[in-house]
Subunit: 348 residues, 2 copies
Amino acid sequence: MAFELQCPLPLSTYPTVTMGHGGGGRLTQLLIEQMLRPAFNNAALDALHDGAQLEVQGVRLAFSTDSYVISPLFFPGGDIGALAIHGTINDLAMCGAQPFALSAALILEEGLPMETLWRIVQSMRDAAAAAGVPVVTGDTKVVERGKGDGVFINTSGVGLIPAGIRLDPRRATPGDVILVSGPVANHGMAIMSVREGLTFETTLTSDTAALHTLVAELLATVGADAHVLRDPTRGGVAAALNEIAQAAHVGMQLDEAAIPLDEEVRGACELLGLDPLYVANEGKFLAIVAREVADTALAVLRAHPLGGRAAIIGQVTPTHPGTVVLHSRIGGNRVVAMLSGEQLPRIC
Amino acid sequence: MAFELQCPLPLSTYPTVTMGHGGGGRLTQLLIEQMLRPAFNNAALDALHDGAQLEVQGVRLAFSTDSYVISPLFFPGGDIGALAIHGTINDLAMCGAQPFALSAALILEEGLPMETLWRIVQSMRDAAAAAGVPVVTGDTKVVERGKGDGVFINTSGVGLIPAGIRLDPRRATPGDVILVSGPVANHGMAIMSVREGLTFETTLTSDTAALHTLVAELLATVGADAHVLRDPTRGGVAAALNEIAQAAHVGMQLDEAAIPLDEEVRGACELLGLDPLYVANEGKFLAIVAREVADTALAVLRAHPLGGRAAIIGQVTPTHPGTVVLHSRIGGNRVVAMLSGEQLPRIC
């Protein structure tokens, strides 16, 4: 097989892979849009989704994959094992699917304490059992000491998309309302507080959770009036909404005061100079729905234990397409741009 | 979530993960059987397959995952990218499925030359296009320099199992005939020759290939009389047949003289003191079929470009259940045991 001469990313600017290419910001987007998407060009991939939507013999399937390289392996509220189960369940849920099977592939570093592996495997087991989604196939590889980092986990998953559901980032339409299912930035700040050795009056806890039952209730009520769902992981709410705004060629207007944020998380963000809109979440999602059903959607979310603090945080606009604008607490407007690199490496 | 006190592997014997736990031999089996399978206990997982077989709204699906950590990234006959595409296609084919979608998840090490990544991505693209199986969803993560090894790739895949196909290792039945689709040990010895800097009169070349079209032709002809398919990757023919013999509680008798082996591969194995039965393959498979269709199966395999040197290599026996016995060239019988650790680390 002949190799093409020209790398699509200019090698003078990007001679090597940098941490920023994995941060979920502009560099990640560049790598995906310039190199990976064109290489694997096909209709399912072009949907710019958290997963692919496929139709097989009349059955609508969602299929998604994610590798988890989070450091540290254990953190308040979770660990890499639970995260890997929740994350792929959530990616499938964001396609509107009810997940029915997961795979789990472990890359272990030689020297990993067996008891650490056992704790992680138990956590995966418990998370899968709690979510009601079985791990049906797996793989285990080992790399030499110093060629890995304890454990990396890939989970992939398959789900069933009910009739009448049509989620697609390109369906974000001016007039649509943007909701979030709860307070943002908890996962990222929990990880950061461990890494930085910060202590607060209360422990910052990751929000890692499986969102498929909450999503199922939302979709059962609003159906095709749900236009886009997205879980704001790497790159946070900012990256997620920018990607949707670009895909749909629409603008977005957010109301800062409406975005739920725990006081401890706000304090930690201020201390570390981080903007909570860019911080990763693992148990929250954004929903973009038709204006007529916004209040219903909010009520459904709030009635579920995982959505009790859901809020309407903004709207889709015909103006400034591709750009997310925040109306700040102090009254001004500012652009919420896509970050270039990453502010929080290995957050998931 | 409460952690159980007791790790199912005795920590005094296995305090840490070793390279042998990833080698495909007895230690890998121990890790899977003692820790992983019980944790994720469910019917699909219990099938001891290369992938799971699922039924969704009347549609029979196969779902499989594999991470590729091969070193070096490029080798005669292929590279990690092509290998990752072929490997998961083959795992699906071994379930009797026609693959229809793949995922690709990359874990990149900071500092990986962008051009190296581009070569690998092109190779994945070309392999997927040649096989006619699209990559529909993906993920990219980056870890710090020294926390990975260039690139690790996970591919997962979904396939459709035609009506009338019932492949299951437990269907291996005394009287069944064992076939192999071509010469063994080429992949592993190609990798070893690069690692050891060996040169032979001809370059040893990996046999990496997508086997789904060959499998489709076989199954279209022999249908449910094909009882088990298995691609002998890590651990080679020995590990694959031992696993099946144990799963089905049957014995196996192999005829060494009948096992196809390239002369250069035989020479390299002798030089390095390796038994070709334990060396990995990436473009071959074992088929265990009803005796009545064995000759037909052989003819179908031989008529395909990837099966030209297929052979009948042995049979399933009611005697010595769980054990594979080789009738050697010099006339004796010896047990082909499962290796404890690995003889060739990071071969796939």
